[in-house]
């Protein structure tokens, strides 16, 4: 909101130079966002806090603030009103049926002549950002800028039935505002109506029908106070925010409405030369009673961490207009002035004392606090280890948006259960992501031009609809890219996973491709290459997957994905690393080459070898794998290093040969061939 320095100056006995005012307000009240020069005047752009709108959305409020901070006194304008013998009640009736209207005050002025406002008023309106319109409308706007009270003027002769009805709108009632916009209202909205229908949307905007024009002779003025939540809701639902609605939505004190009306009549008589009708029409629902706040000044000091003298605190409160009395127990009863609608709790009073005293005077001090247990969340710790492990292996961490378009990379059948945003920022970000994978695939595509071997990892939440409420889960996915027909990448990715579990001390981990549908939050099966996918198992849980992305998803690249299900993973982390003795006796190495049918898997062969090898065989290590030219189309060949060792003695050649030949026998028994 904009405030004029010269106007403020008129309203207080003491005002420092503009720069000092800016500093005082910013440090003790609210932020002055900018000061600009306008002729001889300075205009402050002040960010009035939502809780201070009720008392500081007019120049008087800000001048009061400056008076307190600079040690001056408020100087209120004097009202001169010419009054006629007309009694307002004889000319106009007022009924208040809207329960959400706290108070409605109407005044009347006859014999006005509509003209342009004086230069002083026009300039002040303009410097505060309002367009001068005519002497009556300008008077209402001037009142608002001065006191914070929004006001409205109706042409009396256009009021059907010469009555004002403050009532809930009827369902479907249509209201045309001053600027010609039409709004359809509901009973939740409040209207000001005459015998024919609405003439204003209460607290928001006036209507065209009773507009002041150049021929207006008699004016009906309105000042009012509405329940702020009603105004806020209507303003939001019809999509119309005005200077008035902003003030009403944050609350306007109702006690001072009659004073405001008297001021408005004085202003109008000054600008338009009319005479006021006797008395006001004044209807009220709930008179506001300010309950005193009980304040313990020692608590205030403890909360602020300062030692403000009692007399200084009381002085601050009194200057701010608070009524302070002390009860028998030495507790203060503090009654806020009617313009302070934000003071309800003891802490609110602490803030008043603290801010006027000056937060700068509070010195930082090492807290005296008991030592407490600082727990570490196992999931948090695990995620950090995952990041470090993958980053050490060339993966770069990305953080994609949590949102994605309706059509992702998934098949239509897999898009059920997506969480949709009611008010998305755009179509591109209209749903919460159910998976990290589509984002990562896109990251690969976006970067393939810049880097040969892009590898990315993301740790983040994914979402879907549950049966009753939306679900969210922390998830991990990593991607790397291989060249077409190169299946080496799959095993690289698998290796990254294997070393990760070694690091975690989890030995019970296997890979399998049976019944690979894993379910959310893993990507759906349709994303998997049907013959290059494995899930990662541990004890009885499926804790992740390694797979090549189905070629229909991405035809140009072969992308390998690792997914890890975080909640399941947390349960399998054991960190059980235990020392085993370093072998004292030398190992004997033998190699074996085995020719098998294409369907036979390494795991099958290893199982046969290790069962037959007995306890002397301590390791079998696949070092060569071959299919192709010299072999039949259905054949492949494996070669293993076999390591024989004992912890008790050096093995003799005979002992090793015996174990080795057991392995040979077992292999032959399977119908496999041993290659020489």
């Amino acid at each position: 909101m904009r405030f004029s320095y010269l106007w403020l100056k008129e309203l207080t006995t003491k005002i420092p130079p503009p720069q000092k005012v800016e500093e005082l307000l910013t440090m003790h009240s609210f932020q002055v966002e900018g000061v600009s020069k306008a002729g001889k005047d300075h205009i402050f752009d002040i960010d009035i806090l939502p809780n201070r709108t009720s008392d500081c959305s007019g120049h008087i409020g800000v001048a009061r603030e400056i008076s307190v901070l600079a040690g001056g006194n408020l100087k209120l304008p004097k009202n001169t009103i010419k009054t006629s013998k007309t009694k307002i009640a004889d000319k106009l009736s007022l009924s208040l049926t809207s329960k959400a209207t706290k108070r409605y005050v109407a005044g009347m002025m006859e014999g006005v002549s509509i003209k342009a406002s004086s230069k002083k008023i026009g300039d002040r309106l303009a410097s505060c950002g309002m367009r001068p319109i005519n002497s009556i409308v300008d008077a209402t706007n001037y009142l608002m800028l001065e006191t914070g009270h929004p006001a409205h003027a109706f042409d009396y002769d256009k009021l059907e039935g010469h009555k004002i009805d403050v009532r809930p709108a009827k369902k479907g009632e249509i209201m045309e505002t001053l600027d010609g916009q039409k709004f359809t209202l509901t009973p939740k909205d409040i209207v000001i109506a005459d015998a024919k229908g609405p003439i204003a949307i209460a607290g928001i905007k006036g209507g065209k029908r009773c507009e002041i024009d150049n021929n207006t002779k008699t004016v009906v003025f309105e000042v009012a106070s509405f329940d702020r939540t009603h105004i806020r809701r209507t303003s939001r639902e019809i999509g119309l925010a005005t200077d008035a609605s902003i003030r009403f939505s944050r609350g306007i004190p109702s006690t001072s409405l009659d004073t405001a009306m008297m001021r408005l009549l004085a202003l109008a008589s000054e600008t338009s030369g009319g005479t006021a009708a006797m008395r006001l029409l004044d209807e009220e629902h709930k008179p506001i009673k300010h309950a005193p706040v009980l304040v313990h000044l020692d608590y205030v000091n403890r909360l602020l961490g300062v030692d403000i003298k009692e007399s200084e605190s009381l002085d601050i409160l009194k200057k701010l207009g608070f009524l302070v009395t002390k009860d028998r127990n030495g507790i203060y009863k503090v009654t806020p002035p009617e313009w302070r609608m934000d003071i309800v709790y003891e802490e609110d009073v602490s803030e008043e004392i603290g801010r006027v005293y000056g937060y700068d005077k509070i010195k930082p001090e090492v807290p005296h606090a008991p030592m407490t247990h600082v727990a570490e969340d196992p999931e948090h710790a695990l995620l950090e280890r995952i990041r470090d492990h993958f980053v050490a292996r060339g993966f770069t961490e990305v953080q994609n948006y949590s949102f994605e378009p309706r059509e992702g990379l998934f098949h239509e059948a897999d898009t059920k259960g997506r969480v949709e945003i009611e008010n998305p920022i755009s179509e591109e970000y209209s749903h919460l992501r159910p998976s990290l994978v589509p984002g990562l695939i896109k990251n690969i595509e976006d970067n393939i031009a810049h880097i040969k071997d892009p590898r990315f990892i993301e740790v983040g939440k994914v979402f879907r609809m549950g049966s009753k409420k939306p679900q969210e889960e922390m998830h991990v996915a990593a991607v790397m890219v291989g060249h077409k027909k190169d299946d080496g990448m799959f095993f690289r990715a698998k290796g990254v996973v294997e070393t990760f579990f070694e690091e975690l001390g989890v030995s019970d981990v296997w890979f399998d491709d049976k019944d690979i549908e894993l379910g959310w939050p893993m990507a759906p099966k349709s994303m998997f290459h049907p013959y290059r996918s494995a899930y990662i198992g541990s004890s009885d849980a499926r804790i992740g997957a390694v797979y090549q992305v189905h070629p229909t998803i991405d035809l140009d690249l072969s992308i390998i994905v690792v997914e890890l299900a975080v909640p399941e993973l947390v349960h399998v982390v054991e960190d059980q690393i235990e020392f085993t003795d370093i072998p004292k006796y030398p190992a004997s190495l033998r190699d074996i080459g085995i020719l098998v049918n294409r369907d036979v898997r390494v795991d099958d062969v290893v199982r046969v070898i290790e069962t037959a090898g007995g306890e002397l065989l301590v390791d079998s290590d696949l070092f060569d794998y071959y299919e192709g030219d010299n072999l039949g189309p259905d054949e492949k060949s494996f070669a293993f290093h076999l390591v024989f060792q004992s912890s008790k003695k050096t093995l003799t050649d005979k002992e090793v040969s015996e174990s080795y030949s057991n392995i040979e026998k077992a292999v032959l028994k399977e119908g496999w061939t041993i290659r020489e």
Binding site: S350, I362, P364, V374, V419
Partner: protein, 340 residues
């Protein structure tokens, strides 16, 4: 029998000329060879001499043998050294050739900043807490002293989920409530996490970004504790002494509420383009926890005091790494990410 003197003279002369191991081998054979060595012959013939002759020639011959053996050994090692030197010279490499790097990955700048923040607060006894992204109105607003239709709700542009009473959290403050529902004071926590606001993006605003919540609750927690903790954090984070300035502000869940400025870290409070010549940077919101918030979390009103603060983790990352646009943080562009 050959005389020892001539053997010694010849040996000396020849040895000087030898320049490779092969010649040295031949030399050794010539003088000390088991079958035909010249000195070997002398030593072997000692048995045929008279006792007097033996006593005269014997020791001299032995000394000469030892000398020769020593000289050969010495020559051998010097030749070997020279041999290695010349071989090594051929192995000379151009050390300006670029190093062969293992693939290197990068942590996201937000992760790096978050870890740093967690470490600094961890050293001050703050625990890391977290909460859900999808929240009800109770946690997002009501429990934080922002009742329905309260004008303050306009301060947060919230994303709502379609057809449901749920919304994405527009701030990390709901974590305060979740934590307090399960723990009793005294405690100190920070809660870094993602938050969501339905607002247009620009260089300093995004709709999906990181915030850091802080909360310290106890019997006598005051504004001076808040000042100390934040000043210590900022000074450590920016690696220089940072001053704090509190200004009145309004957040419904605290009272009093503050806007916290720090002395500009770019110009050390002298005034520059970063701080728009003010010497101060507006960095975070803070305040003393509202008793209504304690009551909503199930504490007895008035029993505890505490401070809370919220700061944009993105903002800290932008300042730390001098990144001009917050939207970089949500790209996957490797040319950006590999800088960290």
């Amino acid at each position: 029998m050959e005389g020892l003197e001539s053997i010694q003279k010849d040996a000396q002369k020849e040895l000087e000329k030898i320049s490779n191991l092969k010649d040295l081998e031949a030399f050794e054979l010539e003088f000390l060879g088991r079958k035909k060595g010249r000195l070997t012959a002398v030593l072997r013939s000692l048995g045929t001499l008279s006792d007097t002759e033996k006593r005269k020639v014997g020791p001299k011959a032995q000394i000469l043998r030892k000398d020769l053996e020593g000289a050969i050994k010495e020559k051998k090692s010097s030749l070997k050294r020279g041999d290695i030197d010349s071989r090594l010279e051929k192995e000379k490499i151009d050390i300006t050739y670029p190093g062969l790097k293992d693939p290197r990955g990068h942590l996201h700048p937000i992760t790096k900043v978050r870890r740093e923040v967690e470490n600094i607060f961890g050293a001050m006894g703050f625990e890391v807490a977290s909460g859900p992204y999808i929240e009800t109105d109770f946690y997002n607003f009501d429990a934080l002293n922002i009742p329905e239709e309260h004008p303050a709700r306009d301060m947060w542009d919230t994303f709502w989920l379609k057809g449901m009473t749920y919304a994405l959290r527009p701030h990390t403050s709901p974590v305060q409530i979740h934590y307090m529902e399960k723990h009793n004071p005294p405690f100190r926590i920070i809660a870094p996490g993602r938050v969501f606001r339905q607002e247009a993006t620009d260089a300093s605003h995004d709709f999906d970004f990181w915030q850091l919540e802080g909360l310290m609750v106890g019997k006598n927690v005051s504004v001076k504790d808040l000042k100390y903790v934040l000043e210590t954090f900022m000074s450590k984070f920016f690696g220089k002494k940072v001053k704090l300035r509190l200004r009145p502000s309004f957040f419904p869940f605290v009272e009093p509420g503050f806007e916290v400025d720090i002395s500009c870290v770019a110009c050390v409070a002298k005034g520059c383009s970063v701080c728009q010549k003010t010497g101060w940077l507006e960095l975070l919101g803070a305040g003393m926890v509202h008793q209504n918030v304690f009551a909503a979390a199930g504490y007895v009103r008035g029993e505890y005091t505490g401070f809370a603060f919220g700061v944009g983790l993105d903002r800290l990352a932008l300042m730390k790494y001098k990144i001009p646009d917050v939207r970089h943080l949500r790209t996957s562009d490797i040319r950006f990410l590999k800088q960290f």
